[in-house]
Amino acid sequence: MSVLKKTLLATAAALLTTTAAHAERGSDGHLNIIYWQASSILNPFLSGGTKDVEASSMVIEPLGRYDEKGNLIPWLAVDIPTVANGGVSEDLKSITWKIQPGIKWSDGSDFTAEDVVFTADYCMHPEGGCQQLTKFADVEKVEALDALTVKVTFSKPKPHPYGPFTGGESPIIQKAQFQDCMGAKAPECTEQNFGPNGTGPFRVTEFRANDVISMEANPNYRDASKPHFATLTFKGGGDAAAAARSVLQTGEFDYAWNLQVDPTVLADMASAGKGQVVSAFGTSVERLMVNLTNPDSALGDQRSTVEGGPHPFLTDAAVRRALSLAIDRQTLSDVGYGEAGQPTCNVLPAPAIFASTANDECLVQNIDLANQILDEAGWAKGGDGIRAKDGVRLSILYQTSTNAVRQDTQALVKQWWGQIGVETELKNIDAAVFFGGDQSSPDTFQKFYADIEMYTNNFNGTDPEKYMSNWTCGEIPSPATNWLGSNMPRYCNEAYDALAAKLAQTSAIDERAAIAKQMNDMLMQEGAMIPLIHRGGVSAHSNTLGGVLMNEWDSELWNVADWHRTN
């Protein structure tokens, strides 16, 4: 049956049942969603791409997930286990989840603790190449205590034990369906990976990789009155502007994801009155990473390594402060991000209790002060207008990935740095190369053969422990570690490492917040990074679609069961 025909039938059905006021499953007909990056697979353990995680989140679900405000809420579980309710052991080494009784898979069989245990075994299999392995860090064993109780034991105390089975990246898959797909066999199970059985509001009827997914309401969904839509199309392809147009201007689609489009273009499209732009903020920060080691090509193999020695001028705190002060973050936000950005001076901007206010000096651009700081530090302007000291010129190679907004940002920053006597050379690299880990490429962000590099990073969920440990000494990428590691600035401070260790052993939320703030302030004040923009997600939905609660802490489609047609 064609989609059109289905739509017509469903609409007819919807008309007949309007008096029931959304009380019935499937009464609102057909839903059209467009993700301009097409979904490749519906198994998030084999593809960590956001498009795949979010597409699959309508089908398979975790035990607990984050709501639109970043609160952890029970999903398939009865409640969120804590030390207070006895769900988390006193020594913080285990967590016991209680599953809601009566949940069924879309094939009608019972959802049990065995499925949860299987999911952990599946992802932790050494040959599976599971892309969500980070979620299962330090897990020693996962066992089913009874049909509805699962106990996860960690190898060390976990103050935040909500890695496994929470959030869109860690849903539960069905044991009966995937048990022959363990380890090296995982990628060969095309049928399972394209159409997993789930507990979610929808089930897959047709999957076309990198193109389109057709779904229908799951007849075994736990809430008999949901989902409101009987069928849905999840289309992929094209670009962000075209996706925005299809919702805001032509009205062909109901929901479009990740619209990183020129803010003025988006506002213009929204003025057609067919839909609205929605945004939400999570933890993403666009930042400049400052290379504290010397990237000089004359150093050969020791280039950009701790062994190669300190950077000739970026190790001077005055230079880093001046560079930060010279930037007008509000303009960067207005030009490139619109509703999806706000200036920030922190690398850890959210959740609110973790956000520091100690670094807000940088929120206002101050070229005069920046010049003054450089003058006082002895960096004098030469004949060409570029500052120098002891034969070292303030000349910066500034790299980032290829992306229209990033190139606009680069051009603006270059201009401002020019005003304080800093020379800037710009470079942009294709994202797949820049963020790729090809050992033979000199252009990866880990190798950092430049003075400054810019990109966005964030963390899943609401706990920053893992994220903040990115800047400990052990995380510095170098040839010895095959350039693996997340400490791009090559920042190394014993006091910081001690705080990271302390954070890993503290469980009270207020204390955790205090430590994380202190770590953030340390990074900011010692200039390892220059944060620019706190970035949010931007999507658009049709005026006839209700129930959308934009969520940056979890999948944007987390509450698709509640989405409904409004008139």
Binding site: S2, V3, L4, K5, I34, A38, I41, L46, S47, G48, G49, T50, E127, G129, C130, Q131, L133, T134, A184, A186, P187, E188, T190, F194, R208, A209, N210, D211, V212, S214, T233, G237, G238, A242, R245, Q249, T250, G251, E252, F253, A272, A431, A432, V433, F435, G436, G437, D438, S440, S441, D443, Q446, Y455, T456, N457, F459, N460, L484, G485, S486
Partner: protein
Amino acid sequence: MFNYTIRRLLFTVPTLLLISFIIFLLLDLAPNDPTGNLPMTITPEVREKIRISLGLGEPIHIRYLLWLQQFFVNEPLNLIEEWWGIQIGDAENRLRVQSWATRSPVVDLVVERMPQTLWVVGMSYVVGILIALPIGIISAYKHYSWFDQIGTFVSMVGFSIPTFLTGTVLIVLFSVLIDSSSPFWLPSIYDTTHRVTDWSSFVVQVKQMAMPVMVLALFNAAQLSRFMRASMLDNLSQDYVRTARAKGMKERVVLLVHVLRNSLIPVVTVIALGVPQVFGGAIITEQIFKVNGLGQLLIIGVQGADIPLVQTLTFIFAVLIVLFNLIADLIYGILDPRIRYD
């Protein structure tokens, strides 16, 4: 002719092997990484494990030989099994060429995308030819007339304006400015799951094909009509045309029987050589209208560093190009009896 064909066919084997090796080398040397586009929250250690699970830990010659075996042995065996419903050897454990992004056999993806590419890109090629031939013929016959001038202008426009501009302009005209309740409204997003079952679904299909087909047809027609015109002009000044007219033949016969048949020889060759492009899809036009055919498959593969997918697709295109070169040569021999290859 037969011997020539056999000789050429045999010669394609080493050519194609060499091509496949060069493609493989190029892809391997390119600084690209299949984990490059994953979210930053996935740690470098996990990325390394993903790479190893994809087989990137093996040295290049092993990976190349493995691909050769998968493509030239396992894939044909699988095709035979599916066509005749039989099982040969250990079908369970025989690995087909797998895409890294979708973890599914590449050939299945290609087969899935063939219909929309053939419908849209193939139809645009046919429409392009149908527009180009008459324009070329009339332009040449009425040399420097207003028709010729307009034809020249339109083909210059079609040739020089990129499809991403014409495509977007058409979308703004037919999808945005025209209200969606109007019968002239056209969808900007192609629905690949749409099935033609009756008249109304056929109309929907025609509507969704209209814009991408017109954009591509304009581009194809521009090129072909110039070829047709030039070829006609060459022949119109030949002695045999004067002879035919001197014998008192009607102008229509002179033009359509004598001149056209001779002029078509080079044009048919050009058309045959262009057919592989149809299979290659039209990357930009497919992206604009979300047709999601072979062109879009290729571009997604390139962006995501999905090496087995890109390798297999480019190789299939290479095979088609080599084959259609041969076909063009053979057609040439059939159309023009003066050409003999033996």
